[in-house]
Symmetry: C2
Subunit: 461 residues, 2 copies
């Protein structure tokens, strides 16, 4: 039966591309309220296509953007239950002037579709939709129990998802979650991602004088918040580029010898495969670790933004009344966001502020994720990928965070299979985001094959 | 004769206030090209009133805003030659919502006129104009040689002044320059400012990856420009809050024992007179110096702005391709802007940038100014102030920079007398800028008395 489904999918590739392009035309930017109607339009598009796959699909209202929830009521009751997760919202497209073609006018270039959201995550959502629709079309029904959640707030913090999951917990008692929002190892090799870093994000604002001051009259006689902020942030790292916050590394899990052996086989070149493509000329980071270890298994601390005083063209001689920074931590397996938040706040307060004061905003975080490599669904996924791509997948971790994965683990005690079809150079969150059409093809084929493997699985044994 | 002039000035105080109000109604904002016509209107107003004082006055075109230049051709050839300098342009009025009355609808409140430019510098320019007009009206002619330059670009960098001075050098061979753009020591005490700090202003921009990157995928494996910028700027000061740039303090002139004695008599309270009014709770700065020493005689280094990455509301997990800062130096007597620029650039390049690169923009600077306290015109000014105010002036320095003073010294080898009538709380460059009417009265009386003292002076001896 899988062969029939794959043959059907092959035949209707062009229509699948056109469907994806339809979805990409909708500017569903979730962070910007001027796009609210478009976000809703994208939800509606997804809902319609889930219904085409024979699912009972509904748009659920939330405090912000709707969540699409679909199930196949006609599935065999004793079949494995798969929860699919994806998001139909996209990042803002700016800076617009850096796009070679308009972000919401999808354009085929070099065998890829160029559009905001193509790789993250609409193209990958379409891979799931195409697989489900093909099974329905070719065989009349999807042979596993399926629940699909496609949300519209992933790019603005998934604020509505937790209460939605709590409310619909009874429908979400799946055996495994499948998330397609990651990348392939390379264009020939599908990856199953079994580890993700967590995240903790702060806005730290240092207040000084009660108004902006003239730097001639006040320069040198009072604590300038810009000076003090950089003085303190300048102490975040030691000479080995390790974070100096006491206790920061306490619970970081070391890489096992078995994992390291797998990674050594990956044939990863830090310059060619990672740094050179983004214009970086030398590796950098915590001393004593390789680039892959730093990215996957070591925590990072990044200042994501600096603000305060005058940042425009030319000169303005101001001592600003405040200065601030966005500071985030990518947490390695073993680290807990709440604990690191506590340590960071304590560290910030441990410095002499010379009369300035902190205003700290913790935007919360996400736990790091580590999924067992030896589960039956991991094995099933490997088989499916071998069938769809002709090649064994590699097992990798990822440096980024997919908060929903940790959340499903915490709220539903559900492990996730992360199988994505993006490429590392897809420019997600950047101008000229793209999604390769061969990856798209591999994506829907793999999801179709996954369904067959899951259906064969004696899940409950 | 001075008594007649002063009596006349007393009688026509209300008309003088009305004239000042007329000028304040013109929104001559020089930085914003939408005000270009108003800037010209203010130049024309000044030109007309200089003509009323019997001067030959003309509006001179420049590449940007006109300069008004006036001379009294009928002055005795062997009298001292005084160059007056002021500016008729003003700072932008925003934030408009913070003004209690509209910035260009002058309003009398608490014995002060509230309007943009009232203290900086239109009210002070009017003090000079009133004195000149009164001498002309009462005695038929001004008893000294007078040249007046009132420019329209002081608030946007005085870009046209240098070439104008070069072009008109032959007319500007004055004995001394009188600048009225500073403050009194307090409402009872006129100050002669004999020292100004210089200025050097840089934009330093650190470039990293060739695009903005996702901090999950790239966090911890490459040099983040925000991290690196704060690391380097964090080293600008040592634990004694001294600038660490090698050679920075080399040529700073120490405060003489005589000066220190004068300063000790000033009855200056660093908290009450300076820090508390701007919401600062503790003195801060270079160890081993008092607040007055730090402000007047020690160089300062301030970060006037920080930029790079995400500075908006909420969170964005970006590693930006660049980060930057505005860094300025207030130079103490003895320091040279070119030399400090060289040392700073060298210091910036001395740090390991881990593959990042600097883009440095030097916005140039202004030399610090120190005028002899023992010149005959300083003595004449002291006498005049005693006559007009009934009290000896104090001799002070100022932490701020008036670039034209250094420029006149360099271009014309001309020393300046800085006698201003602003008050420290006049909110110049801020909403609700004001100019006290008693200060206005004292201002025109003092300028009238100065003319008498200069006329009495055997300048050439």
């Amino acid at each position: 039966m899988l062969q029939d489904v794959l043959a059907y999918l092959d035949k209707q590739h062009d229509s699948a591309v056109n469907r994806m392009i339809d979805l990409l035309k909708i500017p569903s930017v979730s962070t910007d309220s001027s796009y609210t109607k478009d976000v809703r339009k994208a939800a509606s598009w997804v809902n319609t296509h889930l219904q085409e796959a024979g699912l009972h699909s509904e748009i659920h209202e939330t405090d912000r953007h709707p969540i699409v929830l679909a199930t196949n009521a006609d599935a065999p009751k004793d079949a494995p239950h798969i929860l699919y997760y994806g998001h139909y919202d996209v990042q803002p497209p700016d800076p617009l002037e850096k796009w070679d073609s308009p972000p919401f006018e999808p354009t085929i270039k070099d065998n890829a579709v160029v559009a905001r959201g193509s790789s993250d995550d609409k193209g990958q959502v379409c891979c799931i939709l195409e697989a489900l629709m093909a099974w329905k079309k070719v065989t009349g029904k999807i042979p596993v129990r399926v629940t699909v959640i496609i949300e519209g707030e992933e790019e603005c913090g998934s604020g509505s998802l937790h209460s939605f999951v709590e409310k619909h917990k009874d429908k979400l008692n799946a055996n495994v979650c499948v998330v397609s929002d990651t990348t392939m190892w390379n264009q020939d090799t599908v990856a199953i991602t079994y580890g993700l870093r967590g995240l903790l994000y702060f806005d730290i604002k240092l207040h000084g004088p009660d108004r902006d001051l003239h730097s001639g009259m006040y320069g040198g006689i009072l604590a300038n918040p810009c000076n003090e902020l950089t003085r303190i942030l300048g102490k975040l790292f030691d000479d080995d580029h390790r974070v100096t916050i006491p206790g920061y590394y306490d619970n970081v899990q070391p890489v096992t010898a078995e994992e390291q052996q797998q990674w050594d086989k990956l044939d990863f070149d830090e310059m060619d495969d990672c740094l050179t493509p983004v214009g970086v000329t030398q590796p950098f980071g915590e001393a004593g670790y390789t680039t892959l270890q730093r990215r996957w298994a070591r925590p990072a601390c990044d200042i994501n933004g600096l603000y305060g005083g005058y940042g425009g063209e030319g000169a303005k001689t101001v001592i600003p009344s405040f200065a601030g920074a966005k500071v985030s931590f990518r947490l390695a397996a073993g680290q807990c966001p709440e604990r690191i938040a506590e340590l960071f706040e304590k560290w910030l307060h441990s410095h002499d502020l010379h009369g300035c004061r902190w205003e700290l905003t913790n935007f919360g975080g996400a736990v790091p994720v580590a999924v067992s490599q030896n589960s039956p669904y991991m094995t099933a996924a490997s088989k499916a990928i071998e069938k769809s791509s002709g090649k064994e997948p590699v097992l990798i971790r990822e440096g980024a965070t997919i908060p929903v994965v940790g959340q499903f683990k915490e709220d539903l005690n559900l492990d996730s299979l992360l199988i994505g079809f993006g490429l590392i150079d897809d420019r997600i969150h950047s101008p000229n985001e793209k999604f390769n059409l061969d990856c798209f093809r591999l994506g829907y084929r793999t999801h179709a094959a996954l369904i067959a493997e899951f259906a064969n699985l004696q899940w409950w044994t």
